[in-house]
């Protein structure tokens, strides 16, 4: 070997700084790419036999019915607290009668889809990551492959589809119970006129507001379940790594919900312009 070739070439300071800066960027795009690949595989396997509807129903039950108590509790108090603050603010202008419309709109467009997604991330997303992580470290995922069952089709596709389907439904439940909470606070406790509450709500809210909330919820369902499945499916190691994957799944799921909320809300704004 030529002696000169074995001498390391000194790197410029700029190159070193560039390399250090490039690392997180490469990491981010790699992370995004891995998620996209998993989503793509999950979607491809959705249309290939066998379809196994039982797995989809089981996941819908886990994500939807299983989350119902927490959604009802959080939804009721979110509506009530929202009404409490709105009444306090509107009283400054003597316009408490608009509380039904204000809370209804904020629930439909923002509070219901976001809070539902965050609750389901915490409950079902963490459960998905833990279950898949445990299956990975105990070789259950390898066992599926030995029976010629594609693990992505069997484990990931039903969870993503069930989340996309169930999130909008749970969001509507959140809306309904939130309105009940708002009504109880505003009408029964704060003494807002019942006719004004209902009439302004009916006049100022629109089915398209609920449609926007449902679309947001479906997108959140896809992102939170993808984050959970990705973290659980790719666990390497033991119980500690499963715990870390669960934490990462909840953090990634929650962050993705809040980030997507901005972009999806912005995009929906162009399709559903605000009408006074």
């Amino acid at each position: 070997m030529n002696e000169a070739s074995s001498v390391p070439v000194p790197r410029g300071r700029l190159a070193v700084v560039g390399g250090v800066l490039a690392l997180p960027i490469r990491g981010f795009f790699g992370y995004l790419g891995d998620h996209s690949m998993m989503l793509w595989k999950a979607l491809l396997w959705l249309f290939r036999r066998p379809f196994r509807p039982r797995l989809f129903l089981e996941q819908m039950e886990f994500i939807g019915v299983g989350s119902l108590p927490i959604i009802l509790l959080v939804g009721f108090f979110s509506g009530a607290v929202s009404a409490q603050q709105t009444v306090r603010a509107l009283k400054l202008f003597g316009q408490e009668r608009f509380v039904g419309a204000t809370v209804g709109l904020s629930l439909a467009l923002e509070l219901a889809p976001v809070f539902t997604a965050l609750m389901i991330t915490a409950r079902a997303g963490s459960g998905m990551a833990t279950e898949l992580g445990s299956m990975r470290i105990t070789e259950q995922i390898d066992a599926l492959s030995t029976f010629a069952v594609n693990p992505v089709q069997y484990l990931v596709t039903p969870r993503i589809v069930a989340s996309v389907v169930m999130l909008p439904i749970m969001t509507m439940v959140f809306n309904a119970i939130g309105l009940i909470g708002a009504y109880i606070y505003a009408v029964i406790i704060a003494g807002v006129d019942v006719g004004s509450f209902i009439e302004h709500f009916r006049y100022l809210t629109d089915p398209s507001d609920y449609l926007q909330g449902a679309i947001k919820a479906a997108v959140f369902g896809g992102s939170l379940s993808l984050a959970a499945c990705y973290q659980g499916y790719n666990v390497r190691g033991g119980a500690k790594e499963v715990g870390l994957a669960t934490t990462r799944a909840v953090v990634a799921g929650s962050v993705s919900v809040l980030v997507l909320d901005f972009f999806v809300g912005d995009a929906l704004g162009t399709f559903f312009p605000f009408q006074s």
Partner: protein, 286 residues
Amino acid sequence: MPASPSPSPSPSSSPARPPVPAADLTKPDPRWQIRIRGLNKTFGPQHVLRGLDLDIERGKINIIIGGSGQGKSVLMKHLMGLLKPDSGNIYVDGLDIVPLADVEMAKLRRKFGMVFQYAALFDSQNVVENIAFPLIERYKLSRDEIMARVRELLKRLDLDHVDGIEQKFPAELSGGQRKRVGLARALIDRPEILLYDEPTTGLDPVATKNVDEMILRTSHDFGVTSVVISHDMASTFRIGDRVSMLYEGKILVTGPAQDVLRAPDAPVREFVEMAGLTVPPLGVSA
């Protein structure tokens, strides 16, 4: 190792293996069910399998021994097609499985059953659902047909006398029962080849002996080719018909168990001496 059937094979080291013409490997051989040639696998900078050659004898208990990190589990995953080698060939009944597409590989996997180290039973399914899983996934059988086959296996593996075994979940089973249920799941589709991944790891001596007897009995009763990955030397020489030692990514020595026990290679001697072996072979329990 001889390339063709020979009456009394003796242990041999990989480098001395006479090359077998490629054409012979692509024909089903009456003696060798699986033939591996020149298998290489790297994970990043780590060269795990280094041109590994190995023959697996049909209908016998073939044991692959080796220390931790020598690539035993990687080799097992190659046999099932769960990993693809960087180079080399794996012939199963004369068919090279390395270039097979996923769909073809999925069909070929029906020849195999695998018993995992800790059974790898599905936590969310009960014993019947676990055992019946391959049948449910592969065929459209009636519930009665499936239950008949599950119950037959439970009986043959001495699980039928456990109270309420059918409805129990994996968490409610003992270590030995889990292994048996795992074996039943591997056997339900009547495979030709059974792979065992370190079946005695983590078991006490009595349970180890029971698992050894289970492997012996399964091999005799079901007539399957067994491939056992192990680092348990005592078990190996109790039940193995043919033993191969994996060392630094290659088969260091291979042959009938009693001959390998006397092989002069230093790593084999070290393994044998550390295990303090003079183990008589077990008979098949009635």
